[in-house]
């Protein structure tokens, strides 16, 4: 699903440049539940941005769903994001003047799906994350955990190939963290590839594969023996 070969990324800082990713190799297969662990400055957010087509890489190859990502312009990136990727952010990033339902339906709008149809799909996904009764509430009427679940529903609405979650539990307390992680696990159980970035050990432990990043290189990549408690 995601294949990265010898990936380099550096940011220009004045005349110098900051070398953030120093030749990463990573292969994530369909249906995996992977977490990228690392302290701040390790390059994990940069990696997510590149994987999420929010940023471009300097060197190396990136294959998304078997397709080599190169010469990416904004329009092409937007279409690929819409088609293959769903995002979950630390700060939820819901549009404040839209209801939960409309927020979930937004990616479908950009996909060109008719209004009735997309509201129906959106409602199905809200039901899936247990927020059907909150469909017509605005984000500021929801709790943090509820907002993140709306965001997850939004990420799922376009039936992406990969869900990318950037510190999805960073702004949540431990109880809601668990419920959000349970939801991500559930999604993964249904076959979705989930890619989580976190610095919390407890969160990473709930995934099936942990990739540790330090100073722009992968220092370990191991499968966990997570016991599923269904």
């Amino acid at each position: 699903m995601i294949r990265i070969e010898n990936l380099h990324k550096s940011y220009p800082i004045g005349k110098d440049s900051l070398h953030v990713l120093k030749g990463l190799n990573l292969h994530i297969k369909e249906g995996e539940f992977v977490s990228i662990m690392g302290s701040s400055g390790s390059g994990k957010s940069t990696l997510l941005n590149i994987v999420g087509l929010l940023d471009t890489h300097n060197e190396g190859n990136y294959f998304l769903n078997g397709e080599l990502i190169e010469d990416l312009n904004e329009t092409k990136a937007a279409l690929l994001r819409n088609k293959f990727l769903g995002f979950v952010f630390q700060s939820f990033n819901l549009i404040s003047y839209k209801t939960a339902l409309e927020n979930v339906a937004l990616p479908l709008y950009y996909k060109g799906i008719a209004r009735k149809e997309r509201l129906k799909i959106a409602l199905d996904y809200l039901e899936k994350v247990g927020l059907k009764d909150w469909a017509n509430h605005l984000p500021n009427e929801l709790s943090g955990g509820q907002k993140q679940r709306v965001a997850i529903a939004r990420a799922l609405a376009t039936k992406p190939k990969v869900v990318l979650a950037d510190e999805p539990t960073g702004a949540l307390d431990s109880t809601t963290t668990d419920s959000v992680m349970d939801l991500l696990k559930e999604i993964n159980d249904e076959g979705m590839t989930v890619f989580v970035i976190t610095h919390e050990e407890e969160v990473a432990e709930q995934t099936k594969r942990i990739v540790r990043l330090k100073d722009g290189v992968i220092i370990s990549d191991e499968y966990t023996a997570t016991l599923k408690t269904v």
Binding site: T75, K83, R115
Partner: protein, 409 residues
């Protein structure tokens, strides 16, 4: 771009962000309102000037004679100069290419009787087309023609006020009037923008009058309109030359100010058109100034709006909005608000002008108003400004990487 869904997005964004929408709408509405008011008042001033001047034909020249004040060529001062029919022929032939129409005139105060009504009026003996000179409009019947002059017909064309005085509500057309003991037939009634006093004149063929009052070849006065193709300077040159010729013909000293006199409306015309041009320039500057203020206002607000929406736009991009979609959304919203509020400003402005119109008459502002084309043009400029002002920040916003936009908490 113009599908229902895009509009739904835009309406939601406008109605859910009322302050922002009202703020930008207000700027445009206010600019157009001011523009309409200033332009309307300026037009009102111009109308006043035009109206004051339109009482007589703007290209008219009058010539009349008096007593000389200087001895010349062995003739004493104090001599009465008398124009005759031959002067009429002389002017008409010598200056045919400079003259649009010319008429000699004799004028007397006469007693007019119709049944039991009677009053004194000014009777004027003139040639056809004299109505041109006075800007008179024949409202019933006709004005004189050349046959009336040749046949010395006993006919009159009377002003509206004469008709009102003598006939009350009835029509005077075709009735017979007793003027100084002689019966004339009314063949026409006219109105005159010069007002009541000009509508108390009675016109009759020049030849008829010449025969009845004096039975000689005397002429009191000449009235003419110069060829409209002449420039104002050429027209003034023409009347100067005409005056010089007539003075020479009648042995009046060239520096005698009274013997023969000419009044050429062209010189007034020159002053007034100068003022009109000045006024026009003033209105233009005010209009442009108002528009620039509006453009600056809408530009600032667009920059602010896009900045405020950076995060929202980032989210939209992350979920798959292409840069084109982002730009078109912002621009459509901006155009919609600008057009709508421009229309509101226009409506309010026109309304105020209509309501205040009658009161403003006192201040030399007549029928203040704006032509639709001017206002539509102004609104177009503002819409265009909104597009340009919205496009640059929208384009920048569309280019910002979503990660950067999303970080802007």
């Amino acid at each position: 771009m113009f599908d229902l869904d895009s509009w739904r997005e835009i309406f939601q964004s406008i109605s859910k962000n009322k302050l922002r929408s009202i703020l930008s709408g207000f700027t445009v509405a206010f600019a157009i309102l001011l523009f309409t008011l200033l332009f309307g008042i300026g037009n009102g001033l111009q109308n006043t000037f035009k109206n004051e001047f339109a009482k007589d034909a703007i290209n008219s020249i009058y010539i009349w004679s008096n007593k000389t004040t200087k001895p010349y060529k062995g003739k004493q001062s104090g001599r009465q100069i008398q124009f005759k029919n031959e002067d009429f022929e002389y002017i008409r032939e010598k200056y045919f290419d400079k003259i649009q129409m010319i008429s000699p005139r004799i004028q007397r105060t006469v007693e007019v009787v119709y049944k039991n009504e009677q009053d004194n009026y000014t009777l004027r003996g003139v040639y056809p087309k004299y109505d041109f000179l006075e800007s008179a409009q024949v409202t019933e019947g006709r004005f004189l023609n050349i046959r009336d002059v040749k046949q010395r017909s006993k006919i009159v064309i009377i002003g509206k006020m004469v008709e009102k005085d003598l006939f009350g509500q009835l029509s005077a057309y075709g009735k017979e009037l007793n003027i100084g003991g002689i019966i004339y037939k009314v063949i026409g009634v006219f109105s005159d923008p010069g007002g009541d006093s000009d509508e108390r004149f009675i016109y009759t063929p020049f030849t008829t009058m010449q025969q009845i009052y004096g039975n000689n070849d005397h002429v009191d006065e000449f009235g003419m309109t110069y060829n409209p193709k002449l420039s104002i300077n050429e027209a003034i040159q023409f009347s100067d030359k005409l005056l010089k010729d007539l003075k020479q013909k009648h042995d009046v000293a060239p520096n005698d100010q009274r013997g023969i006199r000419v009044r050429n409306y062209a010189s007034d015309n020159q002053e007034v058109s100068g003022m009109m041009v000045g006024l026009g320039i003033l209105i233009f500057i005010i209009g442009i100034g108002t528009l620039i203020a509006g453009v600056v206002g809408i530009s600032n607000i667009m920059v602010y709006i896009v900045k405020e929406r950076t995060k929202e736009l980032g989210i939209r991009k992350a979920v798959g909005a292409t840069p084109k979609k982002i730009i078109s959304m912002i621009m459509l919203e901006s155009v919609f608000i600008t057009a709508l509020s421009g229309y509101i400003g226009l409506t309010i402005g026109v309304g105020i002008l209509k309501l205040a119109g009658p009161t403003l008459k006192k201040y030399f502002i007549l029928n203040p108003g704006v032509s639709t084309s001017v206002v539509v043009g102004a609104t177009m400029i503002l819409i265009l400004a909104g597009i340009i002002a919205g496009y640059l920040p929208a384009k920048r916003a569309a280019r910002i990487k979503p990660i950067v936009a999303l970080r802007a908490d």
